[in-house]
Structures are given as C-alpha cells and as structure tokens.
C-alpha cells in the first residue's frame, strides 16, 4: 500500500524514515517533534524530501526524477486545524474535492453533519468542524487518507465523541495513515503501529504486539503501556459488560455494543496486579490464571511483567521489590487481577 524510504534535513532536525505498510489503519505514534507530521507532509506532497522514494498503491509519487505535486497524488489529508474554506458553505466544502455529481448525503449521514450542510464554517464547533474536514477528505475518495492529529485540538470529551466516527471511516476501507501522540486513539483505531522518535522509525508491527512489548512499553511511558485485547460482547448486567477476549472473560464498564459486537479493550499495565496464589475475598471481578513470560526492569523502582493468559498476553507494571519478593521468573504460574474501573471509557472501542 505504502512504501517509502526518505531523508529530509532542515536545520538540526533530520527525518530519516523507511516504512512499508499494508492496508487498514497505520498509526504513526511518537512524541512531539519526532517527525510524524513531516513524514505525513512528505507523503502528501506538501513537503519535499531531500532524497528517497515514496510509492503509494503501486505508483511512485516521489523518487529520482519523480515528484508529483500534491494535487496529483490522490492522497487525502485531514489537518489538525480543520482548514475549512470560510467563504463556502459546509456543503460546498464537502464537495470541493469530490468528483462531479457526487452527493455528500451518505458521508454527511455517517458523520452526523447532515443538519450543518447549509451553514458556514465560522458557525461550527470544533467537533463539527473536525467532522466536516474528515468528510471533505473522504468525499475526494483518495487512495490513502492521512489524518494528522485530527482530534488534537479537541478536548477529551469531544475526542470520545468523534472516535466512533473515525471507526466508521476505518471500516469504510480506505487505507488510513493516522498521526497521533494519544495512545488511546491509536489503541482504538490502528491495525499497524509505527513508532517514531527523533526523526527515525524505531518500530513497526501489529498494534497489539507493540503496545504489550515490555521493552517498548517502558519507552512509551509507564502509564501509556498496556495490552490491547480484541473481544466479543456476550452479555450485560449491573452496568458491566461480559466480554470474551484472548486472555479470558472480562467484566468491564463502558462497553455499549449489543451481544456479538466486536470491541477493543486496552488494559493498562498500571491496572494489573499480580498474585502468586489464587486470591480470596477480593473485590476485583477479573481474576485470570496466567504465566510470567518476561520481566523487564526499567529505570526507577518499576518493572514491566509480561504475562501469558489464555491465548493472549497482558502487561503488568509492578515494583522491582515485588518482583523479587514474589520471585517472578519466566514460566512461573500466577494470577492476574484487573480492576473493572481499570478499563476507562476511552479505552473501549468498537
């Protein structure tokens, strides 16, 4: 789908990235200044690499002697600031890049912006503007859609509201490159995760593998690390949903889908407790048999423990002292205890 190897230097900063990813949602994750946006702009043709090549969907858009201008690359781009045209109505904005005769109705319906069609952008809220910008890029029917932190300008509540729309866009089938520094968004949307740091691509792989890798987890920051589980809702009760996941059945709050709905659940490493004996009289609802796979000691008093449970894996962040006290070594059978409230609203997605 997307294959590139580029280098671009400006002042002290050098972007040097090579990458091959398939269809689905590829999330590019990294701290501010890692070069994520520069990478995206090079792909879209808004910035020019010093050297290298970029191939999208089999066509070389940049390479030796080739440099297609942005408007001929057929790559959609949703910017952090929505960049709607202030002199056009929402409808005219949506149709700006669309082929003649295309109706905005289906996309407007999907993004819940149908009532806004005759309005002007100046009257829209941040969340509405973001959705119109996404719809405008979608109606162009690009072969690749770049979303460059489309939710970064929104508050936490609005992000939670827009993520379901992004999930619908994802399920529409257009390959997406999703630039983000918010792990919740990445965990919910991505198939493939690309980690960037200081202008370099450091890791590429399936999102679940990378997020639960203790080595990488310590780099993401202890509170960012966690396992990403895929599950099926099998029932609701007392405000909790029972979800069958790779690691076993979990009872979690904040899952809405009907029975049979596929959901993603992110279990933060901080919210997992490890016990060496079956716990008795504990308030936690989720107690799963597990086995220690690896212990990764980071800097400071913490340690990341990777656990195998069922067919999946979990990540637990505990102290090094506990690791020593409980004698947690690979292959040791343990119990993983996950607090229900450990699964936050934003960490549950369809």
């Amino acid at each position: 789908m997307l294959d590139l190897a580029i280098r671009r230097g400006t002042g002290d900063f050098t972007l040097s990235a090579s990458l091959t990813v398939g269809s689905g949602v590829t999330a590019v994750f990294g701290p501010s200044g890692a070069g994520k946006t520069t990478l995206a702009r090079c792909i879209a043709g808004l910035a020019r690499p010093d050297a290298g090549h970029i191939t999208v969907d089999g066509e070389q858009v940049f390479g030796p002697g080739v440099d297609l201008p942005a408007y001929r690359r057929d790559i959609g781009y949703v910017f952090q600031d929505a960049r709607l045209f202030p002199h056009l109505t929402v409808r005219a904005n949506l149709l700006y890049g669309a082929a003649a005769g295309v109706s905005p109705d289906a996309v407007a319906e999907m993004l819940d912006i149908a009532p806004l069609l005759s309005r002007r952008p100046s009257g829209l809220s941040g969340g509405e503007a973001a959705r119109v910008a996404i719809g405008r890029a979608l109606l162009r029917a690009p072969r690749l859609l770049i979303l460059d932190e489309p939710l970064a300008a929104l508050d936490q509540r609005l992000r939670g509201q827009i993520l379901p729309y992004l999930e619908r866009v994802r399920d529409g089938g257009i390959p997406i490159l999703y630039i983000s520094h918010a792990i919740e968004e990445v965990a919910r949307l991505a198939t493939t995760l690309v980690l960037m740091k200081a202008g370099q691509v450091t890791h590429v792989g399936p999102v679940g593998d990378i997020l639960s890798d203790p080595e990488i987890a310590t780099r993401l920051g202890p509170s960012q690390a966690g396992a990403l589980l895929e599950g099926v809702v099998i029932g609701h009760g007392d405000g909790l949903a029972a979800v069958d996941t790779q690691v076993g059945r979990l009872h979690v709050a904040g899952v809405e889908g009907a029975e049979g709905t596929r959901v993603r659940i992110r279990v933060r490493a901080e919210d997992v407790i490890v016990a060496t004996e079956a716990p008795q009289g504990l308030s936690a609802l989720n107690i799963l048999p597990a086995r220690v796979v690896a212990v990764h000691r980071g800097q400071g008093p913490g340690a990341m423990v990777r656990l195998a449970a069922g067919d999946g894996s979990l990540l637990a962040r505990i102290t090094q002292r506990s690791v020593a006290r409980l004698d947690l070594t690979p292959d040791r059978p343990v119990w993983a205890i996950i607090k229900t409230s450990g699964v936050g609203r934003i960490d549950v997605g369809g």
């Binding site: 879209a44 408007y71 057929d74 002199h87 002007r120 100046s122 162009r140």
Partner: protein
C-alpha cells in the same frame, strides 16, 4: 444640474474615461506584481518593490518627463509605436498611461496586503483535495482577496482621476484630447473671470472622489461578509 460650459463637461467625461481605462488596464498587472511581491521568493524582489513604488516617491513632473522621453517620437518606445500609429504622446491614451503608472503603486499595495493576509494553509488544504494551482487561485485565493482588490481599485481610480503633474508634463493639456478635469481646473485658473466654471469643476472633482469612497465603503463589508460567510 450644475451650470458648466461644454469644455468642462468634456474634461469630466475624458477624466472618467481615462481613469476607468487606466484602472482596468493596470489591474491584471497589479494582481500579478502584488502576487510576486507577496509570495515570490526570488532575487531582485526588493528591486521590483522599489521600482513599483517609484511613482509614489518621485515628483510627478519627473515621472511625466521620463514618460515623455520614453514615448516621444525619438524615444525608445515611441520610435516603435509612432510609425505603427499607436503613439501615445499628446493623445488621451498617453493620459491613461500616466494615470495608470501613478496609481499603480497604490493598487499593488492594497492587493499585496490582502494576499499576505490569505492563510496559505487553506491553499494547501485545497491542493490535498486535488485542486490545481489555477483552481486554487480561482476558488480560494481570489475570493479571499476580493475586498483588497476592491480597495485597490477604488484608491487607484481616485488617484487616476486626480492625476495632474505627470499627465500635463507627458501629454500637455489639449482640449478634448488630454485636458482632464485637473488640467481643466488649472486652465480655468489661468483665465481671469472664470470663477463660476472653476468652482463647478472643483465641486465635481470633490463629488466624484467622495462618491468613489462611498461606493467602496458600501461594497467592502458586503464583500467581506460574503467571504467570511456571515
């Protein structure tokens, strides 16, 4: 109606024609130069800026004299144009050139400020939506700078309408051909006892200037509102 001698009406209609043509003819060039100055990144941009501003800072009589040298029968441009019957010296078309050149810096300045105020991010967004540079200019840039163009046209028209020094130096003051309204006022000033037509013409000049500003002030917020979508 104001009671004016026929030569005064002649001067008024000539002045209107000269300033309208001068404004319209210089507008495309002014748009292009304003674009170069606002967006261009090339060697010699400072020099271009200085040359464009020259008529604003030079004494008008110097500009008129320079035009005379260029366009007279023996001048480099006149030597080419005169044999073809396209000569402008001492013709109303010469008055158009003088007026256009004097108004040019003001028109460029107004449009340039408008272009500099356009957010290039919007043009970038249009490119990612598949719009060619020409389409971007037509559908994004042009609507955004429309109020600036309007302001430039107004001030350019007013400047052209009032132009005197360069015009009289370049094309003299031939009744019916190059005697524009300011030249006519000057001519009436030289004749004793012509106070009545003189006052009438001055009144007309003031009225045209005020009218131009009023029309522009009336249009500007409407254009701006259309663009901002309020």
């Amino acid at each position: 109606m104001i009671d004016l001698p026929p030569e005064a009406w002649e001067a008024l209609s000539l002045s209107l024609r000269v300033s309208v043509v001068a404004t319209l003819v210089s507008l495309p060039l002014a748009l292009w130069v304003a674009h170069l100055l606002a967006r261009g990144r090339f060697r010699g941009r400072g020099l271009l800026d200085a040359v464009v501003h020259l008529p604003l800072v030079l004494p008008p009589v110097v500009t008129g004299y320079a035009l005379l040298l260029l366009f007279s029968r023996g001048g480099p441009l006149g030597a080419v144009l005169e044999p073809l019957g396209l000569g402008v010296a001492f013709r109303w078309t010469g008055a158009v050139i003088a007026a256009a050149i004097m108004a040019f810096p003001l028109v460029v300045r107004a449009i340039r400020l408008a272009i500099e105020a356009v957010d290039p991010k919007l043009e970038e967004a249009a490119a990612t939506l598949g719009a060619s540079p020409l389409r971007i200019w037509r559908t994004v840039t042009l609507p955004m700078i429309a109020p600036g163009i309007l302001a430039g046209v107004t001030i350019g028209f007013a400047k052209a309408f009032g132009e005197f020094g360069a015009t009289i130096t370049f094309v003299a003051s031939i009744p019916g051909e190059t005697r524009t309204l300011p030249s006519a006022i000057y001519a009436f000033l030289q004749v004793p006892g012509a106070e009545a037509p003189l006052r009438g013409l001055v009144g007309v000049a003031v009225a045209v200037a005020i009218l131009a500003v009023l029309v522009s002030n009336w249009l500007a917020p409407r254009v701006a509102a259309r663009i901002a979508g309020r």
